[in-house]
C-alpha cells in the first residue's frame, strides 16, 4: 500500500546507517584484535589500517543517525514514531535535543556517539595501546549498536529502531488501514516532550552524564588490555588522565542531575537516594577509588591488582546501572526509571558478554599482576589512601546492594522492600562514610609515600588545620546550631562529627597547598579537588540537616490520628486568593495567576512579606500541563536565592488541577439605579453606573469606553460588601470584567445595556468560586556551598588532568630526540 505524504528517505538512510554502524563496529573489533595479536609489524599495520577505517565508519554512521533523527524531529515528521512520541509542534526549539534523549534509543545513541568520539581521540594518542584498547571499545560499540537494531532473532527483541514509523509501531490500529492516515487528526501533532524535561538542565545534563558513562570504557579498556597483553607496567600512567577525565565528567553529570531535581522536582531537594541516582553514583565512587589506587601504584608499586579490579568494576556497574534503569525492574521503587521496552533478554545478554570475559581475564591473570609482598608502613601515604579507596568502594557496595533489591526479589522470588525511611537507611550508613572520607582526605596528603621521616612535623601539620576545623565546628554549634532531632541525639552527634570532618578536609588541603606544596598551584589539582569535595560534604550536611519547612499548616484541622503525629507531613499551607496568611516569619499571599503564551504553564504569584517589614518578594511556582495524553499538571517549583540560603516553594495542590464542575450560571437582572435583587443570603442594590471609572487597578481615560456598575451587597447578618463589575468596549469587542464577592460565593457580571438603556447585571451563586492553592515552602540554608564545592572539585580534576598530561610529555620528547 502507498501512503501519500510520508517522508521515507531519512528513515531509509537511518536504517542503512544503523546496520553500517553495527557491521563496522564488528569489523573494527576483529581487525583491532588481529592487529593486537599479530607479531609481525607489517601484519599489525595492515590490520590496524582496516580497523581504523571500520571504526571511523562506525562513528560516522552514528553522527549520521544522530543528524537524521534531529532532522526528523525538527521537521515534525510525525510519521516517525520517535518524533511522534517525543516531540510536538509547540515545543520550544531549544528542547529539540532533549527529545532525542527522552527515549532509550536516544540514550544508547548518545552513549555510543561519545564512546566513538573518545575512541577517535585514543586512535591518535594511545600509540602502542591503540590496538588492544580499541579492541575493547570497538566491542563495546558493537554491543551498543545492537541496541538500535529493532529486529527479532529467535523471538528475542534485539534493539529499538529509532526510525520506526508510527504505523509500524501500532500495526493493529485500524487508522493505518487507510492510505491517507497522515491526514487524520491523531497524526497532526506529536505527544510532546515530558513536561519535566522541559528544563534547561535537561538539555545539558544527559549529554554530560552519558559522556561520563562513555568515558569509563577507557580505564576499563586499558585495564583489560594490560591483562590480555600482559603489559602490567606501562598502562597505569597513560590511563590516569583518562580516569581523571571520566571522574570529572561523570561527577559533573551527576551534580547537574541533582541541580535539575532541585529545580524541577518537588521532593524538596537535590538527592533522594532514588535508584536512578544511585545507579550513576556507584560507578563514580568505584572510579574515584580506582583513581586513588592507581596513584598509589604509580608512586610505590603497590595496589595494581586493586586498580585493575576497580576500573573493571566501574564499567561493569555502568552497564548494570543502565540495565537497572532501562529494564523496568525498578518500576515499583523508582519514580523516574524507564518503563520496560522489552529488551530485557538482550540487556541480560549484554551484561553477560561484558562481565564474563572481563572477570574471567582478571581471575586468570590475577596472580601475574606484580605486587609487593612487603607491608606498607602505617606512616605512609599509600596505607591511608588505600583505606580511603576501600571506604569509597564499601560505600558503593552498600548503595548498590540496597538499590538492587528489586533484582534480588526477581531472582529469589522474594518480596522485600527498603524499610520505612528510605533516605535514612542510606544516610545513617553514609554519614560514617562521610566522616571517614573527610578525615582521610584531610590528613593523608601530609604523609609521604613509603615512609614519613619527620613524624613530629607530621603531627603538627595535621593538628593545625584540625584545630581550625574544630573551632569552626564549635562556632557552628554556638551560632547556628543544627537542630536535627528526628533520629535522636546519636545521629545528631554523628552529623556534628561529619561537619567537623568535612571542614577538616577543606582546611587540611588548603594547609597542604600552602605548606606541603609551598603554594605551587600547578601540581595542586588533587588538593583543590579535595577542597571542593569537602565543601560538597559540608553543603550536603548543612543544607539537609538545617532544612526547614516554612509552610507549617497552622490553619488546618488537626486530627487525633496518630501517636507520632509530629512526623506527619502537615506541611502544606492553604492560601486563599488575595487573603494574606500567616506563615511563620512571613505573611504569604496568593496574589494572582497567569498563563504563559503557549497556554501550558500556569504561574502562581505568591508574595512573601517578612513580618519585621525588612523584605518583600514574590515567587512564581508553576504548574505545567502534562504531555503525552496524560491529563493534569506537574509541579515546577520556584526558589529565591540568597548567598546563604534558598527559599524553595511549590504548589502542592490547586483547585485548577482538580476542576470541579461549576453548573450554576449567571441569572440576568435588568436593574435601574436603586433597584434591588435578592439572592440566597441577602440582597444587593445598584448604587450607580460610572462612565470610564478610575478605581483601583482600573484606570480608564476619556479615550476608553467602559462602564462600571457599583453595587452594595447586604447580607442577612448585617454585613455589607461593595461589588464593581465592569463592561468595556475594546477594539469593537465587548469585554466583561466580573467581580467576585468571595465571602458570599457571589459573582456579579455587567452583562449589557438593554434596548431600554437599562444596565443588565448577571448574578451567579456558586459553591466553589474560592480560588486557592496549597503551598509547600522549604528553606535550604547554605546550599550554595554544595554547588560551589562541586565547581571547585571539577576545577581540581581539570588541573590534575593538565598536570598529569604535562608530566608525561617531556619524557616522550626525549625519546623522540634520540
Amino acid at each position: 500500500m502507498q501512503y501519500p505524504g510520508e517522508h521515507l528517505l531519512p528513515g531509509q538512510f537511518g536504517h542503512f546507517f544503523t546496520i553500517l554502524s553495527l557491521v563496522a563496529a564488528l569489523v573494527a573489533t576483529v581487525a583491532y584484535y588481529k592487529s593486537a595479536q599479530a607479531i609481525l609489524p607489517d601484519e599489525q599495520q595492515s590490520w590496524k589500517k582496516i580497523a581504523r577505517i571500520a571504526f571511523g565508519a562506525n562513528v560516522a554512521s552514528l553522527v549520521a543517525i544522530f543528524a537524521l533523527l534531529l532532522y526528523i524531529i525538527s521537521n515534525h515528521y510525525f510519521e516517525y514514531f520517535y518524533a511522534w512520541n517525543h516531540s510536538n509542534k509547540t515545543l520550544d526549539p531549544k528542547y529539540l535535543l532533549s527529545c532525542i534523549w527522552e527515549g532509550q534509543e536516544g540514550g544508547f545513541l548518545l552513549w555510543s556517539l561519545w564512546q566513538g568520539l573518545l575512541g577517535l581521540i585514543l586512535m591518535r594518542t594511545a600509540k602502542t595501546w591503540e590496538a588492544p584498547v580499541l579492541t575493547v571499545i570497538s566491542f563495546a560499540q558493537f554491543t551498543l549498536a545492537t541496541m538500535l537494531l529493532g529486529v527479532y532473532i529467535f523471538g528475542v527483541k534485539i534493539g529499538l529502531n529509532p526510525f520506526l514509523l508510527v504505523r509500524e509501531q501500532f500495526q493493529e490500529a485500524p487508522l493505518f488501514r487507510s492510505p491517507n492516515y497522515l491526514s487524520a487528526p491523531a497524526m497532526q501533532d506529536g505527544q510532546g516532550l515530558n513536561q519535566l524535561l522541559q528544563n534547561y538542565w535537561m538539555v545539558i545534563h544527559p549529554p554530560v552524564l552519558f559522556l561520563g558513562f562513555a568515558s569509563t570504557v577507557v580505564p576499563f579498556g586499558y585495564a583489560l588490555a594490560a591483562l590480555w597483553q600482559r603489559r602490567y607496567t606501562e598502562w597505569t600512567k597513560p590511563v590516569l588522565p583518562w580516569a581523571l577525565f571520566s571522574a570529572a565528567i561523570l561527577g559533573t553529570g551527576i551534580m547537574m542531575g541533582a541541580a535539575w531535581a532541585y529545580e524541577s522536582l518537588t521532593f524538596g531537594g537535590y538527592w533522594a537516594w532514588d535508584p536512578v541516582e544511585n545507579a550513576s553514583l556507584v560507578p563514580w565512587l568505584i572510579l574515584v577509588a580506582g583513581l586513588h589506587t592507581n596513584l598509589i601504584y604509580n608512586s610505590t608499586g603497590y595496589s595494581q591488582r586493586t586498580t585493575v579490579l576497580f576500573y573493571i568494576l566501574t564499567y561493569i556497574f555502568v552497564v548494570y546501572s543502565s540495565f537497572l534503569t532501562k529494564s523496568g525492574v525498578l518500576g515499583d521503587s523508582s519514580v523516574h526509571a524507564f518503563v520496560s521496552a522489552g529488551l530485557n533478554a538482550q540487556m541480560v545478554l549484554w551484561m553477560a558478554v561484558i562481565i564474563i570475559p572481563a572477570i574471567w581475564l582478571l581471575i586468570n591473570r590475577y596472580k601475574q599482576i606484580p605486587a609487593i609482598v612487603k607491608e606498607e608502613s602505617t606512616y605512609s601515604r599509600e596505607f591511608w589512601m588505600f583505606i580511603g579507596s576501600l571506604v569509597l568502594f564499601l560505600s558503593a557496595m552498600y548503595v548498590i546492594i540496597s538499590t538492587s533489591l528489586p533484582v534480588i526479589n526477581k531472582l529469589f522470588k522474594t518480596n522485600l522492600a527498603v524499610g520505612e525511611d528510605v533516605e535514612f537507611s542510606y544516610n545513617r550508613v553514609q554519614i560514617w562514610i562521610a566522616i571517614l572520607i573527610g578525615v582521610l582526605t584531610a590528613i593523608t596528603q601530609f604523609f609521604r609515600f613509603r615512609e614519613t621521616p619527620d613524624r613530629k612535623n607530621l603531627r603538627m601539620r595535621m593538628l593545625i588545620p584540625g584545630s581550625v576545623a574544630l573551632l569552626a565546628t564549635i562556632a557552628i554549634a554556638v551560632f547556628g546550631p543544627i537542630e536535627y532531632y528526628k533520629y535522636g541525639a546519636g545521629f545528631l552527634a554523628a552529623i556534628y562529627v561529619a561537619v567537623f570532618a568535612s571542614i577538616y578536609a577543606v582546611f587540611g588541603n588548603i594547609f597542604y597547598i600552602w605548606k606541603g606544596l609551598n603554594g605551587k598551584l600547578k601540581s595542586a589539582g588533587g588538593s583543590v579537588a579535595h577542597i571542593g569535595f569537602g565543601m560538597m560534604l559540608l553543603g550536603i550536611l548543612i543544607s539537609s540537616s538545617k532544612k526547614e519547612v516554612l509552610s507549617h499548616n497552622t490553619t488546618g484541622i488537626h486530627l487525633p490520628f496518630s501517636e507520632n503525629s509530629k512526623e506527619n507531613p502537615v506541611e502544606n499551607l492553604t492560601l486563599i486568593k488575595t487573603v494574606p496568611t500567616d506563615m511563620g516569619r512571613y505573611t504569604a499571599t496568593y496574589v494572582s495567576d497567569s498563563l504563559n503564551s503557549k497556554g501550558n504553564i500556569t504561574y502562581f504569584k505568591i508574595r512573601f512579606d517578612e513580618k519585621n517589614g525588612k523584605e518583600s518578594f514574590a515567587l512564581y511556582p508553576n504548574l505545567i500541563r502534562n504531555t503525552k495524553g496524560a491529563e493534569g499538571f506537574s509541579n515546577n517549583p520556584d526558589s529565591r536565592h540568597y548567598w546563604d540560603k534558598d527559599i524553595f516553594s511549590y504548589i502542592s495542590y490547586a483547585d485548577q488541577i482538580d476542576p470541579q464542575k461549576d453548573t450554576s450560571s449567571f441569572k440576568p437582572h435588568e436593574m435601574e439605579i436603586r433597584d434591588s435583587v435578592f439572592y440566597s443570603n441577602g440582597f444587593m442594590i445598584l448604587d450607580s453606573v460610572v462612565h470610564n471609572p478610575s478605581f483601583g487597578p482600573y484606570q480608564y481615560t476619556a479615550n476608553d469606553t467602559a462602564l462600571m456598575a457599583v453595587l452594595t451587597i447586604y447580607v442577612k447578618d448585617g454585613r455589607t460588601y461593595k461589588s464593581r463589575p465592569i463592561l468595556e468596549i475594546k477594539n469593537g469587542q465587548i469585554e466583561h470584567k466580573p467581580d467576585t464577592a468571595f465571602a458570599q460565593n457571589l459573582i456579579l457580571n455587567f452583562n449589557r445595556i438593554t434596548d431600554e438603556q437599562k444596565p443588565e447585571i448577571g448574578v451567579k451563586e456558586s459553591g466553589n468560586i474560592l480560588p486557592f492553592v496549597s503551598l509547600k515552602v522549604y528553606l535550604f540554608p547554605h546550599i550554595n556551598v554544595l554547588w560551589l564545592g562541586t565547581i571547585i572539585m571539577i576545577i581540581g580534576f581539570v588541573m590534575s588532568i593538565v598536570w598529569r598530561v604535562r608530566t608525561m610529555r617531556p619524557k616522550m620528547k626525549v625519546v623522540q630526540k634520540n
Binding site: F170, A417, N572, A630, I657
Partner: protein, 135 residues
C-alpha cells in the same frame, strides 16, 4: 598478618553488621489481608483506588488530609488516610504502592507511588516509554 588485612577484616565485619541491620529493617510488599495481619508494622501495600467509594479531600478545610478506599487484587479493601495533599490524577491511577502501616481498621499511609496508564496503551498494546514522576 598485615595491618591492611586487619583493616580489611574490620571493614568486612562492619559491612556485615550494617547489612544485617539493613536486612532487619526491610519490609515486604503486602496485600490488605497480610498487612492487617501485621498491624502496626510498616509495609508496602499494593492495591488500587476503589472508584466506587468516595474520596475525601477538601483543601480549603485541610490540605493535609486525604482519605480514600484501596482495594487489592484479592478484593479486600481498606480505608486509607494520607496526611498530605491529594496526589494529582490519583483517580486515573491503575495501581498504587502505599507505604505505611495498618492502624485499627485503616491504613495510615506515609507515601504513595502511583502507576498511571498511558492513554495509548489500550490502543497499541505497547506502553510508551517515558519518565513518570508521581511525587
Amino acid at each position: 598478618m598485615k595491618k591492611l588485612h586487619i583493616v580489611i577484616l574490620l571493614f568486612i565485619a562492619a559491612g556485615i553488621a550494617v547489612l544485617l541491620s539493613f536486612m532487619s529493617d526491610l519490609t515486604t510488599y503486602d496485600t490488605v489481608a497480610s498487612a492487617r495481619a501485621k498491624e502496626g508494622k510498616f509495609v508496602h501495600l499494593i492495591a488500587k483506588l476503589d472508584k466506587n467509594s468516595p474520596i475525601e479531600y477538601d483543601a480549603v478545610k485541610n490540605p493535609n488530609y486525604f482519605a480514600f478506599t484501596a482495594i487489592d487484587t484479592l478484593g479486600n479493601s481498606t480505608k486509607v488516610v494520607y496526611l498530605n495533599t491529594k496526589p494529582t490524577d490519583i483517580e486515573k491511577s491503575e495501581r498504587l504502592v502505599l507505604k505505611g502501616a495498618m492502624r485499627g481498621d485503616m491504613f495510615e499511609c506515609k507515601e504513595i507511588l502511583m502507576k498511571c496508564p498511558s492513554k495509548y496503551k489500550d490502543e497499541a498494546g505497547t506502553d510508551t516509554k517515558s519518565f513518570s514522576a508521581n511525587l
